[in-house]
């Protein structure tokens, strides 16, 4: 999957997500299944997949707790005085399918790639330059600041800090966060000086460039045909 051009992957997954998110007709979903079913074979890290699968479905699970009882319509059965309707279950089911189809597609096509590469690809897809610069810089420094946070938290643990539900905990965490913000602010001043020293002119030059191969053209064409086919079915 890594060999396919990230720009193509992002565009493909974005178009697919929008098509699925706007779909209301439950009958057409069997055609939408084709792409995720093909992509499932490319999942390499199943542990991460299941972890993400659970975090996606927490919200969906909460929806299931409310939706079947909230929509009026044909009553299927009663559950502790609440009426479970056919329409409610149908709607909750629709949401579940949509969320998971989009999740599988995005997981294989985008989430398996490093964020820096995703942002680099977005840069080629005409995201504003200023935004790309902020994205690059802050994605690069998140691990650094996370290390800083871990170090501070380790120091807190050494001093026997145990989080509880009291004002002392909240004050300590407030100070910890204040310190993280302070440290990152001071670091940003140093970075600015370093950038000036290296005569930064507003562009991050990249050593790595995407190459569009023949394989990409074939995949691109087949994906376009697939989307056009689905849109045709939708209109019909």
């Amino acid at each position: 999957m890594e060999k396919i051009d990230p720009r193509l992957r992002i565009l493909c997954s974005f178009t697919y997500s929008i098509l699925v998110a706007l779909e209301k007709n439950i009958e057409i979903f069997k055609y939408y299944l084709i792409l995720p079913v093909v992509l499932v074979f490319f999942i390499s890290d199943f542990k991460k997949f299941f972890k993400s699968f659970i975090s996606v479905n927490i919200f969906i699970f909460l929806c299931w707790l409310f939706l079947p009882f909230s929509i009026g319509g044909k009553v299927l059965f009663n559950f502790l005085k609440f009426k479970v309707t056919y329409q409610g279950i149908r709607y909750a089911f629709l949401i579940t399918i949509k969320a998971n189809l989009i999740f599988i597609t995005n997981f294989v096509l985008i989430f398996s790639t490093h964020p820096i590469r995703v942002i680099h690809a977005l840069h080629h897809l005409y995201l504003p330059k200023k935004l790309v610069n902020i994205f690059f810089l802050s994605t690069r420094y998140i691990p650094v600041i996370e290390n800083e946070k871990n170090r501070l938290q380790k120091a807190m643990r050494v001093r026997c800090f145990v989080p509880k539900n009291d004002i002392h905990t909240y004050r300590t965490i407030g100070n910890l966060l204040g310190l993280i913000i302070l440290k990152s602010y001071e670091r940003s001043e140093r970075i600015y000086k370093a950038m000036i020293l290296r005569s930064f002119s507003g562009i991050f030059w990249t050593y790595y460039h995407f190459k569009w191969s023949k394989k990409d053209t074939i995949i691109c064409l087949s994906v376009i045909i697939y989307f056009v086919w689905i849109i045709y079915l939708k209109i019909k």
Binding site: F135, Y170, E189
Partner: protein, 195 residues
């Protein structure tokens, strides 16, 4: 708070995306070359802050800090929150890419409002201003999540209400912590709050 993919209707997604694009555009319009490191590093700091879990009753929650983000960054909190949510979507699969616009709007609008509402009073009392901005922005975010669910379909009313009331204690704690952060920063480095 992160609304998953596929839940919201096309209209809500579209409006959210438009608001986010507009807000981000305003946010980066006045961004000067020397602001890049500051805004980027504060963005990373807010992202890292959202990884810290706070005990609340028997469970724990993570902080959002959009009130603080608004007070420090103003309109620039749109790109900041956009990036944080984008990374949360691609790294941890909280929220999603199609609902990114709506989720960003839900959290960044209260941030910008709290910039205009609370920033002028900052110097009077750091803790109380921080508490109010933290409490206000989380409550407003929840209200906005409720509204985006409600405009998708009125049957989301109960679910939206449940989300709103479940977040009230979180808003309270977020307020207290924001207050402590602001009073810490006022003692150590005032120029972050002034710049």
């Amino acid at each position: 708070m992160h609304i998953s993919e596929g839940v919201l209707s096309g209209k809500v997604l579209g409006v959210g995306a438009l608001i986010t694009i507009g807000g981000t555009f305003i946010g980066i319009k006045n961004l000067k070359f020397e602001d890049y490191p500051k805004v980027s590093l504060l963005t990373s700091a807010f992202f890292v802050a959202s990884l810290i879990h706070i005990p609340i009753g028997p469970t724990s929650t993570h902080l959002v800090l959009n009130g603080l983000c608004g007070i420090i960054l103003g309109w620039k909190s749109f790109p900041c929150i956009l990036l944080a949510l984008f990374l949360q979507a691609i790294l941890f699969q909280f929220g999603g890419l199609t609902s990114l616009g709506t989720n960003t709007a839900n959290m960044a609008i209260p941030a910008v409002i709290s910039y205009y509402l609370f920033r002028p009073f900052l110097k009077k009392n750091y803790f109380i201003t921080g508490f109010l901005s933290g409490f206000f922005s989380i409550s407003l975010s929840c209200l906005s999540v409720f509204l985006s669910l409600y405009f998708t379909g009125s049957f989301f009313k109960n679910f939206g209400k449940a989300i709103f009331f479940a977040h009230l204690p979180i808003a309270f704690i977020e307020g207290i912590i924001t207050g402590f952060i602001l009073s810490f920063l006022s003692k150590t480095k005032k120029e972050i709050l002034e710049g």
